[in-house]
C-alpha cells in the first residue's frame, strides 16, 4: 500500500526502512537484505541507501515508499496517486516499474487524477465521481464511449440559440453542450475537417468565433464528459 503522501520512518536509513519492513512481514534476514538491495538498485536509490531519509527529496521519498510496498512481494499493490508532484523522469521510472511488476502477474490498484497515467498504465479503468462509479471498462472502450470522441471547444462573442441549433445538425456532430454564455463543447466524430463548416456557420449566423480548440479522443475528454466542469472538492 502506498499512500498519497510519504509516510516513511524518519529514524531509519533507506536500506533499513526496506529491511525492517521485510522483517515486519516475516522475511528471513538474508532474503530481506537481498530484496532491499535489488529494490534500491531498481528505484535508483543505491547511492543514498545508507543515508537517513529525513533529507530526501519528495521524489526520492515517493520512490522509497513504493519500494517499501514491494519488499514483501504482495499479490495486490495499492497505489494512491503515486506520481502526484513528481518530475517527469521520476514519473517515467515509476511507470516502468509499475508495468514490470504487473507483468510478473501481480494486481495493481491505482488511483489517479492524471488521465495520461490512467491511459498508459491501466487495463481496467473506473471513473469515480462523488463516490459513484460512473464509467468502467478498458481505456480503449471508454474512449470509444464518448459521443464523437473529438472535442471542439468553441469560444464566441455573443450567445446565439440559432447557431447552437445549426451546429447540432452538422454531419458528425454528436452532442453540443453550452459551457457558459460564450462557449460550447462540441463532441464530434471528426476534428479538423469540421472547422471550416463551423466557421462558415458562425459567419452565416452572425456569431464571431474567438477561439477554437480541438482535442483528440482522450480520457480527459471522457472524464469531463461524465463529470462536467464544476470543481470537485
Amino acid at each position: 500500500m502506498v499512500g498519497q503522501r510519504p509516510n516513511l520512518d524518519f529514524n531509519l536509513t533507506a536500506r533499513e526502512i526496506l529491511t525492517f519492513h521485510g522483517a515486519y512481514f516475516g522475511l528471513p534476514h538474508h532474503e530481506r537484505m537481498k530484496r532491499a538491495e535489488a529494490l534500491l538498485e531498481r528505484f535508483k536509490l543505491t547511492d543514498r541507501a545508507d543515508q537517513m531519509v529525513r533529507g530526501f527529496s519528495g521524489g526520492m521519498m515517493q520512490r522509497l515508499s513504493i519500494a517499501r510496498a514491494m519488499v514483501h512481494d504482495p499479490q495486490v499493490l495499492f497505489l494512491d496517486e503515486p506520481s502526484a508532484g513528481l518530475d517527469p523522469q521520476t514519473r517515467l521510472l515509476l511507470w516502468e516499474i509499475v508495468r514490470e511488476y504487473n507483468q510478473t502477474g501481480k494486481t495493481i490498484l491505482l488511483t489517479t487524477h492524471n488521465m495520461e497515467e490512467a491511459d498508459t498504465l491501466c487495463q481496467r479503468l473506473a471513473i469515480i465521481d462523488h463516490g459513484r462509479v460512473i464509467a468502467l471498462g478498458t481505456p480503449r472502450e471508454l474512449k470509444a464511449s464518448v459521443p464523437g470522441g473529438f472535442l471542439l471547444q468553441l469560444r464566441f462573442g455573443l450567445h446565439s440559440g440559432e447557431f447552437l441549433e445549426r451546429l447540432q445538425k452538422l454531419s458528425g456532430v454528436r452532442e453540443v453542450r453550452v459551457t457558459d454564455g460564450v462557449g460550447a463543447d462540441v463532441y464530434a466524430d471528426r476534428g479538423g475537417s469540421l472547422i471550416p463548416e463551423v466557421a462558415h456557420l458562425a459567419s452565416a449566423s452572425g456569431v464571431e468565433l474567438h477561439d477554437v480548440h480541438i482535442s483528440e479522443p482522450s480520457l480527459e475528454n471522457l472524464f469531463l464528459h461524465h463529470t462536467g466542469r464544476s470543481l470537485r472538492e
Binding site: N7, D9, L12, I17, A23, Y24, F25, G26
Partner: protein
C-alpha cells in the same frame, strides 16, 4: 497474534534507541545525577544535610530516572509519529493488529525504563559513596516494584502521548511531569509531609509517590515508607487505568 512482526518492531525500536544512545544517556541521567552530586555529596559533605540523606535520596532518584525515561521513550515518538509526517503509518502497515503496536510501545518503554533504573543505582552509588546503605532485604519484591514502576512510566507515556499535541510538549513537562516529580516524594519520604497534612493527603493522587515509596521500601526499608501492599495495589490500578485509556486513545488516533 503475529509474534514475528511484534518482535521485528521491537527490534526496530531497539535499533533506533541504540543509534541515539549518547543523547538518551545525557537526557536521562545528567539532571538526576547532578542533583545527586549537589544534594547527596556537596550538601551532606558540607554538613547541611545529615549523612543518612544519601541513602534516602537514591530510591527517589531511581524513580525519577525510570519514570522520566519511560514517559519520554513512549510519549515523544507517539506524539511525533502521529503528526503531519504520519510516520506511524509505516508501522501500521505491518501485518499486526493496531492495538498490538501500542502494546509494543509499552514493552519498549518498560524495557528502557528498567535499563535506566538499573543503570542509575551504580552511577549514583559511585557518586555518593561512602555511606550509602542499600539493604534490599527482598530482591524479588524490589524487582516487582521496579517492574510496576517501569510499566507505569510506559503506560503513562502512552496515555500522555495520545492525548497531547506536538505544540503542547513543553506544557506537558512543566504542567505534568515537573509537579509530579516535586510532589512525588522523590527527594523526601512521604512521612516527612506530616507537618503539611493537606499536602500529605493531596500528593496521594500522584502515582510517582507510590513509585518512590515502593523503591524506598524495598531498597532502604530502614526509612519510614508507605506499606508495600498499598504501593503494589495502587501501582497495579494506575497501570491498568493508564493502559486501558492509552490503548483506546491510540486506536482512536490510528484509525482516524
Amino acid at each position: 497474534m503475529n509474534w514475528k512482526t511484534f518482535l521485528a518492531i521491537l527490534a526496530r525500536d531497539a535499533h533506533v534507541a541504540r543509534r541515539n544512545v549518547v543523547a538518551l544517556l545525557f537526557q536521562t541521567f545528567l539532571q538526576p545525577l547532578m542533583f545527586v552530586f549537589i544534594f547527596g555529596r556537596v550538601m551532606v559533605g558540607s554538613g547541611y544535610m545529615p549523612p543518612s540523606y544519601k541513602s534516602l535520596l537514591l530510591p527517589g532518584i531511581m524513580a525519577i530516572c525510570m519514570v522520566g525515561t519511560g514517559i519520554w521513550a513512549v510519549a515523544m515518538p507517539v506524539i511525533a509519529e502521529f503528526q503531519f509526517t504520519h510516520e506511524i503509518e509505516d508501522r501500521l502497515l505491518a501485518p499486526m493488529d493496531i492495538s498490538w503496536l501500542a502494546v509494543e510501545k509499552v514493552v519498549a518503554g518498560t524495557l528502557q525504563s528498567l535499563a535506566a533504573g538499573l543503570m542509575v543505582i551504580p552511577a549514583a552509588w559511585l557518586l555518593l559513596r561512602p555511606g550509602v546503605d542499600l539493604r534490599v532485604p527482598h530482591p524479588l519484591l524490589f524487582a516487582a516494584v521496579a517492574l510496576l514502576v517501569a510499566l507505569f512510566s510506559a503506560t503513562g507515556g502512552l496515555a500522555l502521548g495520545c492525548s497531547m499535541q506536538q505544540t503542547h510538549i513543553g506544557l506537558m513537562f512543566s504542567l505534568i511531569v515537573a509537579p509530579m516529580i516535586f510532589f512525588g516524594c522523590t527527594y523526601y519520604p512521604w512521612s516527612a509531609l506530616e507537618k503539611f497534612p493537606i499536602m500529605q493527603k493531596a500528593v496521594l493522587v500522584n502515582p510517582l509517590v507510590y513509585a518512590s515509596e515502593g523503591l524506598r521500601a524495598t531498597l532502604v526499608p530502614q526509612f519510614p515508607h508507605l506499606p508495600l501492599l498499598v504501593v503494589l495495589a495502587v501501582l497495579v490500578i494506575f497501570n491498568l487505568l493508564l493502559f486501558t485509556a492509552g490503548l483506546r486513545w491510540f486506536y482512536g488516533k490510528a484509525v482516524s
